[in-house]
Amino acid sequence: MLEIRNLHARVEGNEILKGINLRVNPGEIHAIMGPNGSGKSTLAGVLAGKDLYEVTEGEVLYRGRNLLEMDPDVRACEGVFMAFQYPVEIPGVSNTYFLKAALNAIRKYRGENEYDAVDFLSLVKDKMKLVEMDPSFLNRPVNDGFSGGEKKRNEILQMAVLDPVLSILDETDSGLDIDALRIVANGVNALHNEENAAIVVTHYQRLLNYIIPDFVHVLVDGRIAKSGDKELAFQLEEQGYDWAKDLHQPAPEAV
């Protein structure tokens, strides 16, 4: 589904990603862990199409096509979804309006009928149960005045409504208490199936108690220093990232 080959990227002249290789197949959940500044969020941002990042080398194939050539909205229409580390507040735009516009944009792109207000509302109310969100959130402006936990749940709600093929969760666990963490993780697990895939970017192991990854990759200084299964996450938890920083093995090829 996703194939990242020798990806290099920089931000304002600083090279952050220095040769990432990663392969994600349908049905898989990959966790990307790493210390602050290792390039985790840069990787997520490059995949989502944030123009802050400049790709200098390498390629990313998504379902056989060059992902980096697609505009961010096209990526979303093609099924790529990023849950933001810091969801953006949009005063003046209601959550319903926003979600409906997004869903219909994607459906239109796929040549499907657009949802009318009634159908949309029943769909979105159904999905809200998944993230234990009160329907009153629908009339509130997007993320405006939401708590940290509410914002993250709103991200998962969007994910549930838009039903992506590839989800990238950028530090979705940051700033969450244990209840919110459980709700968010339950949402992600419920949406996971054999056809889709997720990349879970996180600093801490604790999210992985709830979302069980098939693979864990440790990102250090812009490269994947080590890959393994979920046991690797426990190892990191015990030994800290300093241990990983000392790894001198070359970046492993795609798993």
């Binding site: 961010p72 953006v88 735009v93 869903l103 969007q158």
Partner: protein, 443 residues
């Protein structure tokens, strides 16, 4: 050029006098003569005048306008106006064509009980004792040459009077339609609104025109709000793209009275809107909301004054501009708190969104506070579409054009939702939406 221009207006004034026959001897006409003299002495405002600093009037003063003809009442005029206007069905509509009130084409039968609507010239002719309350030349406005010019030619216009305690449920719409003629024409409509104690009504003033008509609408609105009366005044200015529009609203608000002004500016090549609210009685309130959306090369200048003359009054002002292409916007927000006006509460903000690199806006909050126990806040911003918000929408599959529209409307929509009439608010919503989409397309 200035002298020649004055000669043109003087000539028009003489011609106007000649049409008045016997009516040129009364007290009203003395006011007209005085006003004309003042106008001739002052001339049009110069760029060195601080209050006109950002607006070049040359395109206006350099155009020779002929007085508009009184239209012949024909149903087709109403149809033409309706074709341009908002499809509002629940209002009582009074039609004005080229500045002239056309009673034959107005819904005079539907005027609510307790409200009197009359042609201003008839009121002036019949009852000279009303002169002072009808044709005010009070305060700073008397020094305003456009008001003087309007007063000099005062005849076209209307007097609206609401009796004590009357609450008019149905809004009144004043629909001004300007037609295209062979020569640029000038009109001086005068609207006088008087609310007696505890009276309440909503007035929707709407300006529309034939496409690309060239004319100058020099409008003056006098508003008198008695104690505990409430006027909610919504104005939509959608003049032709070649039109000149100068409007001056002067509202005097008595004790515990409320005046709300909601302005929406879409049209005219050159606009100057003067809005003065005078809080004259304790506990009075004034709201000024405005949204201006110039595109192409339109120039829109908004000059607002809220005068807190007595204690314990409140005012709330929010103006927003969305500027595209090579447009120019100006906002001046003057708040005067007189020495006696203790415990004043005044809030003002002006926020502007620039959609292009070539648009420009000048914003000037001006606070003159002479009392010490007051609460005054003001703020002004000029910004662009947030990149973070834009990316957030894009990342959810919404294309760039739609995302820009959504964010622009998110900025502007607040003012639409404050319109004190849900039907009108919905219609305005659609109109503004359309306009914003068009703005992005040309930027």
């Amino acid at each position: 050029m200035k002298k020649e221009q004055m000669k043109v207006y003087q000539k028009q004034f003489s011609a106007f006098e000649a049409t008045l026959n016997g009516a040129s001897e009364g007290r009203v006409h003395q006011l007209r003569r005085d006003a004309m003299q003042r106008f001739v002495e002052q001339g049009f405002p110069a760029a060195r005048d601080e209050d006109w600093r950002y607006t070049n009037l040359n395109p206006l003063t350099g155009t020779t306008f002929v007085p508009a003809f009184r239209p012949v009442a024909d149903q087709s005029l109403r149809d033409q106006a309706a074709a341009q206007a908002l499809p509002l069905t629940h209002a009582v509509t009074l039609l004005f064509v080229d500045g002239y009130f056309v009673p034959e084409l107005s819904d005079l039968d539907a005027i609510p009980e307790g409200m009197t609507v009359r042609d201003l010239s008839a009121v002036i002719d019949e009852d000279p004792s009303l002169t002072d309350s009808v044709v005010t030349e009070s305060g700073t406005l008397s020094r305003h040459p456009f008001t003087a010019l309007n007063t000099a030619f005062t005849q076209q216009g209307i007097s609206i009077h609401l009796r004590r305690g009357v609450i008019a449920e149905i809004p009144l719409r004043l629909l001004f339609h300007s037609t295209s003629g062979t020569q640029p024409h000038i009109a001086h409509p005068r609207i006088v609104v008087r609310l007696e104690e505890r009276a309440e009504c909503r007035i929707f003033e709407e300006y529309v025109a034939d496409n690309s008509a060239v004319y100058f609408n020099n409008v003056v609105v006098d508003v008198h709000i008695a104690a505990n009366a409430v006027l909610k005044h919504v104005r939509l200015q959608e003049e032709s793209e070649n039109a000149f529009h100068v409007s001056t609203v002067y509202a005097q608000i008595a004790q515990a009275g409320v005046y709300e002004n909601h302005y929406f500016g879409l049209g005219a090549s050159l606009l100057r809107s003067n809005l003065h609210g005078i809080l004259q009685g304790e506990g009075a309130h004034c709201t000024m909301n405005g949204l201006f959306l110039p595109f192409g090369t339109q120039h829109m200048d908004h000059f607002t004054v809220i005068d807190h003359a007595v204690p314990r009054c409140t005012s709330h002002e929010l103006y927003k501009g969305v500027l595209s292409d090579e447009t120019r916007g100006v906002f001046t927000g003057r708040i005067i708190v007189r020495q006696d006006a203790q415990q004043t509460n005044a809030m003002q903000s002006n926020n502007n969104l620039l959609l292009s690199d070539t648009a420009r806006v000048d914003t000037r909050p001006q606070l003159e506070i002479y009392a010490d126990d007051v609460k005054c806040t003001h703020g002004a911003t000029v910004g662009r579409i947030s990149k973070e918000q834009l990316f957030y929408l894009l990342s959810r599959g919404i294309n760039r054009q739609q995302a820009q529209n959504i964010l622009t409307f998110a900025f502007a929509g607040e003012l639409v939702s404050r319109i004190p009439d849900t039907t009108l608010s919905d219609l305005m919503h659609d109109r503004i939406h359309k306009r914003l989409e068009a703005s992005w397309k040309t930027t």
